[in-house]
Amino acid sequence: MRARVFVTLKPSVFDPQGTTVAEALHTLGYANVKDVRQGKYFELDIDAASPAEAERVAAEAAAKLLANPVIESYRIEVDAAAHAEMVR
């Protein structure tokens, strides 16, 4: 089962990289892109009996390691079909 973990800086934390990317987009003419927040994306292939179990494991991994709770928050999506697709 695949869990996708999205790690981003908390809204209260200044993101100098995201700001720079936004400025670059403005230079390209995308004036309607108001803000950019840069983050990290992880794909975890988890041997789990249920999507709920996979989500629990991914949440633990995110809280303990993938994200630094001082500055980052995370969001998880579980895709129960992803592993089968990958094998095919």
């Binding site: 800086l9 209260s12 934390v13 200044f14 100098p16 990289q17 720079t20 630094n68 001082v70 500055i71």
Partner: protein, 237 residues
Amino acid sequence: MKFAVVVFPGSNCDHDAQYATEHVLGQQAELIWHKDTSLRGADAVILPGGFAHGDYLRTGAIARFSPIMQDVKRFADAGGPVLGICNGFQVLLEAGMLPGAMLRNANLHFHCEHVHVRVEQTDTPFTRACSTVRPLKIPVAHGEGNYYAEPDVLARLEQNRQVVFRYVDTAGQATPAANPNGSLNNIAGICNEGRNVVGLMPHPERACELAVGSADGLVLFESAVRAVSEGACAISR
């Protein structure tokens, strides 16, 4: 006295720290590989600068799982003096031994230059011999030294006098222009509540002889020698 200098894969200031304490100060300094489990009776520990574990995931994020860190924590909990320099400071933050976190430098540049820092607290083992008047001229070399902490944590740090080093200009003023990385409150270094664990972004070990442009950093290591010889760090082994 004996310093232990922890060597992570990717540390690159370990030999500088050893040189400063051994050759310049005439003390013992033992390099200890991160997979070792014992600090071997050291009186003080230095987590050196560099790029431990390639800075993968986040700076310092993987180093906290290195086996030696268990003994470093034990040593710190027992009151032993621990100094984290640059990447070593980042490791202490990730390990939860100091509060807060590091962000990318505000202007995204890797800053490699001499800066001035004011020592604000002299009741830590690494600042005992310091003056709070004359700023120290020591170099920084980092891309992620933009210190961040939640507002309540920051307020507590200031209240408890845990901000040990602050970026200042040559006149000793903590101005935005003197801040190389965007750190909150111009913070260059802090200590824990017990005051025995100290972390700072600038590199005192790279400023220990006039031949390299400044010898201002030496006083941090002299402070540790004095603290240990005067029994200021009662380590309950």
